[in-house]
């Protein structure tokens, strides 16, 4: 058993502050275990969102020592002994209470992603995809929607005014998944540029750094989207190719 001081953000829309909790931890515990013990032993009204405790539901996102992380996947043993550990709610979203934030911005963005629109079925009534194309999209489907990437993205974290015209890394992942789907017929490149705001991203890769599923968001989704926007809007050779193809 080791004693540790947890500085947990307590407050709501009217304001708040860090409150220190001295508590003992056992080997193998994660931050969420300790938050639950604080809830059980010292502060029954501490609000925290959680569900699976296995890094798969994406509910317990918070900022631990200033870094966006899942509380259930952050081992207490990863901190130096004697160091106070701060636990704060995600900074990018409005607070509801304590460690719980209102992430509904993400649901609004999700509604605006033009959905999968498949090609007509083949003569035998089926859709067919090659295995290599199935495998390409698997990485994107690992997303657990913890919104840590949205939280760390400075485009909306430090500049809230960008929220109406910026989809954020999680949804660039969705756009990329659809744009790389061989059966889909929608062309979202202009929307990605003009409404999802991919040009606002300056690829500083923090979304990739914090992703608990280790999805290479920047390299495999955002940059491929930026390159698709270049194909559509900034590459005269691609423009000429489209013109020639259309004419022929």
């Amino acid at each position: 058993m080791t004693d540790v001081t947890m500085r947990v953000w307590r407050g709501d829309a009217d304001g708040g502050d860090f409150r220190p909790y001295k508590i003992s931890t056992e080997g193998g515990e994660v931050v969420l275990d300790v938050i639950h013990r604080i809830q059980a032993e010292q502060s029954g009204d501490l609000a925290v969102r959680w569900n699976c405790k296995a890094g798969k539901c994406g509910s317990c996102s918070a900022e631990i020592n200033g870094k966006p992380r899942l509380m259930c996947m952050t081992k207490m043993s990863s901190f130096e002994e004697g160091q106070a550990i701060t636990v704060a709610p995600m900074r990018t979203f409005p607070i509801i209470r304590d460690l719980v934030t209102d992430v509904s911005f993400n649901f609004e963005v999700a509604k605006r992603v033009p959905a999968f629109k498949p090609k007509p079925r083949e003569a035998d009534g089926t859709h067919r995809m090659a295995q290599i194309d199935v495998e390409r999209g698997q990485e994107f489907r690992k997303c657990i929607e913890c919104y840590l990437c949205q939280d760390v993205c400075h485009v909306i974290r430090d500049h809230e005014e960008n929220k109406p015209q910026y989809a954020g890394p999680r949804f660039f992942l969705r756009y990329a998944e659809l744009e790389m789907h061989p059966l889909d017929t929608n062309d979202r490149r202009t929307i990605v540029r003009e409404q999802a705001g991919v040009g606002l991203c300056n690829i500083t890769k923090c979304c990739t750094d914090v992703c608990p599923e280790h999805i290479k968001i920047t390299d495999n989704a955002i940059i491929p989207l930026k390159e698709r926007v270049v194909d559509r809007h900034y590459d005269p050779v691609a423009w000429l190719g489209r013109k020639i193809r259309r004419r022929s």
Binding site: G66, A88, E108, P114, A130, D158, Q195
Partner: protein, 273 residues
């Protein structure tokens, strides 16, 4: 959750995401809560890039000691003016009297400036936008790469084409680095010029624009076996793009230093045969 199926205006959907701004956010209003030394990485990158820019500017303007048969400095290749010490491709006339390096430097410089890795590096270390993850952006307003001049980052693909041509020229230089006045041989400089073009080639062809052109831009790989094969190979080196960016940057400066020291007589190039 409902999503629109058709691309384009969907009924009365607003053109921007309906979201209430200005609501109270959790946590203290401080630049960061990180207690670690997050500033080390941007500082090291700042110093590294500044040192390279300072040295390469000096080397590009000095206009001497860039050739010693059979070695030519990569900062002066291809040498395209008539005032070159080594006549390689004299397409610019004698009216050009200053350093021939100035004529070509925009291409490798533009390739690196618009490179996806270097953008991350200098946005973090020079512009502090942001300096590190979960550390506040140093600027009150932000428009990313949507306006001039940063919208010009979209021309990276064109600099990639130029970069590929430069790799060809530097490859020719590397082969010529074994062609001594007395016949074929190998000196330390031959190996250095060879390593230089290998590293520059790895950096150039591991670039994200190259990955996209190789096959990443396809909706599906089915029916595109060669491009899928190419994309897989480029993806392997692309995963190490940052490493190649730094190695090639350091080595190109080192190659210039070596040629300069040999050309100025400070050191003698050791010949192996």
């Amino acid at each position: 959750m409902t999503t629109i199926e058709e691309v384009g205006p969907a009924g009365n959907a607003p053109s921007v995401t309906p979201v209430a701004l200005g609501r109270t956010r959790g946590g203290p209003d401080v630049p960061t809560l990180r207690p670690d030394r997050w500033w080390i990485q941007p500082t090291v990158i700042f110093l590294g890039l500044t040192a390279f820019v300072a040295y390469s500017t000096w080397a590009a303007f000095i206009n001497k000691d860039y050739f010693h048969a059979p070695y030519i400095s990569p900062f002066y290749s291809p040498c395209i003016s008539s005032n070159c010490t080594y006549q390689q491709l004299p397409i610019i006339g004698t009216w050009w009297s200053i350093s021939p390096s100035i004529l070509i430097v925009a291409f490798p410089l533009g390739f690196r400036l618009t490179c996806y890795y270097y953008r991350k590096a200098y946005y973090r270390s020079f512009w502090w936008s942001p300096p590190a993850c979960a550390v506040a952006d140093a600027h009150p307003r932000y428009s990313g790469e949507t306006r001039f001049p940063l919208i010009m980052q979209n021309v990276h693909r064109w600099f990639f084409y130029a970069g590929a041509v430069f790799v060809v020229f530097l490859g020719i230089d590397a082969v010529r680095a074994y062609d001594f006045p007395g016949g074929w041989g190998m000196g330390l400089g031959s190996l250095i010029l060879t390593a230089n073009v290998v590293l520059l080639g790895l950096y150039t062809f591991s670039c994200h624009a190259c990955r996209h052109l190789a096959g990443g831009g396809l909706r599906g790989f089915s029916g595109h076996k060669i491009r899928h094969w190419l994309w897989k190979r480029v993806s392997v080196v692309n995963a190490h793009h940052m490493l190649f960016a730094w190695l090639s940057l350091i080595f190109v400066a080192f190659t210039d230093v070596y040629v300069r020291l040999v050309a100025s007589g400070v050191i003698t190039d050791p010949r192996f045969f």
